[in-house]
């Protein structure tokens, strides 16, 4: 049954006893509900970051038409359009999952929480795909 004792060592990335807020974002060992929890927090933080970026970009307007036109040229470049697609996906998943969290969190459709997340994810993926076609193709 048993063998020999070998050298003591510490495995890499061993989780602490109480993982703290950092543990919210650790996907190891998570199941569907836990992954939904992580995705909602990451998308929420991303949207907050975007809000501040948006306000900073709008402040270019006070520098006159030249500064704004330069920004628009940058915004229409393909690498920045990828950012638009990511933004769309984040808005959709956060909004749709937020509806799920709101319903379930008030004691409604509790037994359907898993199906609701899958539905939210599928809808978000489909709309993101259509949106990406329109963003890059212009015609959809």
């Amino acid at each position: 049954m048993a063998g020999t004792t070998v050298e003591p060592r510490r495995p890499e990335n061993a989780p602490a006893q109480r993982r703290g807020v950092v543990g919210w974002f650790d996907p190891r060992g998570r199941r569907l509900g836990g992954l939904a929890f992580i995705v909602n927090r990451l998308s929420g933080l991303g949207l907050v970051l975007y809000l501040y970026m948006h306000l900073m970009i709008l402040s270019l307007l006070v520098q006159g038409p030249g500064a704004w036109d330069t920004f628009v040229d940058i915004a229409l470049s393909p690498p920045v359009l990828v950012f638009d697609v990511v933004l769309l996906a984040g808005m959709l998943i956060h909004g749709l999952n937020g509806i799920r969290v709101g319903l379930v969190g008030m004691g409604l459709v509790v037994s359907r929480q898993r199906a609701l997340f899958i539905a939210a994810f599928v809808i978000a993926a489909f709309v993101t795909f259509v949106g990406a076609l329109r963003i890059f193709g212009g015609e959809g």
């Binding site: 049954m1 048993a2 063998g3 020999t4 004792t5 070998v6 050298e7 003591p8 060592r9 510490r10 495995p11 061993a14 989780p15 602490a16 006893q17 109480r18 993982r19 703290g20 807020v21 543990g23 919210w24 190891r28 060992g29 998570r30 199941r31 569907l32 509900g33 836990g34 939904a36 929890f37 969290v101 379930v104 969190g105 008030m106 004691g107 409604l108 509790v110 037994s111 929480q113 898993r114």
Partner: protein
């Protein structure tokens, strides 16, 4: 079921250690090579390690069949009862104590605070509403009892990410127990328990990760109970609001 010598493979167990006097913020990890078979459980392996390799290894167990709830721990980062968790495939397995609960020694955690939360929740032990009326009883027994599914193992608290960041959180097990009392008061007044759990550190602290229900080895589904508890708390608040300060 017995494993034969030809079924055996060697698995390296990386086991978290901490004794009194050690740095409370650090776990030490010791490794042990153990021969395991297809039916060897984590608890079998720990018993073998303690018997043959390191008699100072501390872990708690009792029934060996998932009834007592004493051998909860984390295996490769995921919570489970060691007595019914097979040794995973692969050359190495990491065994750690439950998270979010103070360590007494190695894999043994201090469950006192966890049990205290149950007391506040009313500690329901019987689930009369799910008794089977048609069940036959032995001579001399009037009625069969239907006990709660919760075995008070602490696995839900360990799996909860919110409990990992907020030690004041009441936790999934006690909230589920509170819901059972409210759902099935059996003559008790559920009002005080509902008011106790209608709190930012109780029913409203849950952030719906659902990990407690996924990890529960006994099918309790604490997350669903918490959501129903919230529904009851919200309904009670609405009744108070529209009764202009009445009691209900």
């Amino acid at each position: 079921m017995t494993d034969t010598a030809t079924d055996l493979r060697t698995t390296r167990f990386v086991v978290a250690r901490r004794k009194g006097g050690d740095d409370p913020d650090e776990l030490r990890y010791d490794t042990f090579d153990v021969a395991v078979g297809p039916h060897t459980t984590i608890l079998d392996s720990l018993v073998a390690i303690r018997r043959e390799l390191d008699p100072t290894l501390s872990f708690r167990h009792s029934c060996f069949h998932a009834s007592c709830g004493t051998c909860g721990m984390r295996v490769n980062g995921r919570e489970g009862l060691a007595c019914v968790t097979p040794v995973p495939a692969g050359a190495e397995v990491t065994v750690e104590p439950l998270a979010n609960i103070p360590i007494v020694s190695d894999l043994v955690v201090d469950m006192q605070a966890f049990y205290d939360e149950f007391d506040e929740a009313g500690r329901p032990l019987v689930r009369a509403s799910e008794s089977i009326a048609a069940a036959e009883t032995a001579e001399g027994i009037d009625e069969l009892g239907r006990f709660e599914d919760c075995i008070e193992c602490g696995i839900c608290l360990s799996a909860c990410p919110v409990a990992g960041s907020d030690p004041r959180y009441v936790g999934p097990a006690a909230l589920a127990a509170a819901w059972r009392l409210i759902d099935e008061p059996r003559g008790a007044d559920p009002g005080p328990v509902l008011r106790l759990m209608d709190d930012e550190q109780a029913a409203w602290r849950c952030h719906l990760a659902w990990e407690c229900s996924e990890a529960c080895p006994s099918g309790v589904d604490p997350a669903a109970a918490i959501m129903r508890l919230r529904g009851a708390a919200a309904a009670a608040r609405a009744r108070r609001l529209f009764s202009f300060g009445g009691n209900r």
